[in-house]
Symmetry: none
Amino acid sequence: MTTLGLAQANAIIDAAFARAGELGLKPLGVAVLDAGGHLIAYQRQDGASFLRLQVASGKAYGALGMGAGSRWLQGVAIDRPHFAAALSVASGGKVVPVAGGALVRTREGGILGAVGISGDTADNDEACAIAGIEAAGFVGDGG
Amino acid sequence: MTTLGLAQANAIIDAAFARAGELGLKPLGVAVLDAGGHLIAYQRQDGASFLRLQVASGKAYGALGMGAGSRWLQGVAIDRPHFAAALSVASGGKVVPVAGGALVRTREGGILGAVGISGDTADNDEACAIAGIEAAGFVGDGG
Amino acid sequence: MTTLGLAQANAIIDAAFARAGELGLKPLGVAVLDAGGHLIAYQRQDGASFLRLQVASGKAYGALGMGAGSRWLQGVAIDRPHFAAALSVASGGKVVPVAGGALVRTREGGILGAVGISGDTADNDEACAIAGIEAAGFVGDGG
Amino acid sequence: MTTLGLAQANAIIDAAFARAGELGLKPLGVAVLDAGGHLIAYQRQDGASFLRLQVASGKAYGALGMGAGSRWLQGVAIDRPHFAAALSVASGGKVVPVAGGALVRTREGGILGAVGISGDTADNDEACAIAGIEAAGFVGDGG
C-alpha cells in the first residue's frame, strides 16, 4: 500500500479508536494529514473537548514539518525550549511539540502523511496512532 | 434525534458523499461542526484540493456564528460586501460567506451544529449538505 | 453623569434589552466599551448566535476609533470600500463598519465610550443602543 | 438547573462579585463562556485593567478546550512549558494556562460552560469563580 487516501485515513482512525477502546482510554480526537500537512480526515469522539483538533493536528503537522515523529520534537522542546517556541510561532501555531504524532511511512521508509492523536496521555495517544497506522498496512514512526 | 455526536456526523458525511456520487460531482471536502463551531468530523475525498477544509469549515462556521445558513451570508456579501469582509477579518478568517453551509436543526428548530461542503458549485455543495443532514434524521437549513 | 463605569454599562444594557423587548426584536448581543475601546460589559440574550460579540464590539470599536457613530463608517464602506477594508485589516479585525454602534457622549459632547449591538437589522440595533445610552443619562451618537 | 443562559450567567457574575467583596479583593473581570467557548456575559469592575477580559476569557477557554479547570493547565504549564506555550499559539492566544478558570458542570458532570476570573491572585480568582457557579446551582470544577 503506497497511497494514503481517504479510505486509508478512515481505516487508520477506525483502528486507532478500536485500540483506544481496548485500552479503556479517554475520548480522543484523531487527525490524519497528507504529506503536505493538510487534513484528510478528522474524528472527535463524544466527550472529547474541542481543542483536541488543534493538539492532534499540531502533533502530526510538526512531525511532517520536521520529518520525525512528534516524540522527537518533544525532546527538542525539553532540551531547547527556545527552538520549540520559535517553531510554534513560525508555523502560526500549527506545531505542537508533544508525543502522539506519528509519521505514516511505507515499508521503504517514504513519508505518506502523519497521524496525530490527543485526549489521553501522550504515550497512550502515540500507541493508538501507531496501532492505527499499522492496521492500515503502513509503518508508524512515533519519533 | 436531538444529539449531534460523532456517529451522526459520520452518517451525515456518508450520505453527503452518496448524494454527490449520484450527481456525479467533483471531489468534496465535508466538515461537520458542533453548535460552538468546533469540528466533530471532516473527510476529504481523493482529488479534492487542500483548502477545501477552510472553505467547508468556513461556510459552516459562518452559518453558526450568525444563526443562518451560509446562503444568507452570501446574500449579505453581495448586498453589503463591506460587512462580509469585516466579518471575515473579525473572525480571524473563520467565516466564508458562500452557500454550501447548512445548519443542522432539530424538528423543533433548535441548532445542533452545521455542515459545510466545498468542491463543486455552491449550489451542489449545499444540496449535498442538506441531503446528508436529512438522511441522518435532522432538518437542514441552507439559509 | 460624566463617568461610564460598570453600573452605567449595566444600566445601558438593561435599557437596550427593554427597548428591544418593546420592539419585538430578535435576540441581541450588547457590548459596552470604554473610551479606550475595551469591553466593560457584554450580555448575549439566549438564542443569539456567537459572532454577535465580534459584530457588536466591532461596531462600537470602529465608532471610538474614528470618533463617529458606526453609521458614519457604514457610509464610508459604501462610498470607499477600500478604506473600510483597510481599516478592518489595520485594526486586526476589530472594526465592523455597520450601523448599530453609538458613541456614549456627555451633554458637553465628550466621548466616554461606545455601545454596539448586533442581532436584528442595523437600524433596530442602533435604536436600542441609543435608547440604552439615553436611559442611562448620556447622549447617544449613532453617526 | 441544566441550562447555562444569560440569566444564569448574570447570577454567576453577581455572586462572584459578592464573594470578592466579602474577601476584600481587587477589582475583577469575570467572563462566562458557553460550552463552545463563546462569551455569554462579561463584567469588569471599576478600576480593573483592560486585559482582564483576555485573561479571564483565556482561563475559561482553556478549561473548555481541554476539558479540565484551568488549574490543571497551570500544572501542565509548570511541568511541560513547551506544551502550554504551543497551546497558546495554536489557539490564537485564546488559552491562558493559569488557575481561575472553572468549568460549570451539572450535578451529573456534564459541561455547560466555564467561568474565568482575573484581577486578584489566581487562587482568589478561582475561589470567586467557584462561589459564583455554586450560587447559581451548578458544580464548579477548578481543575
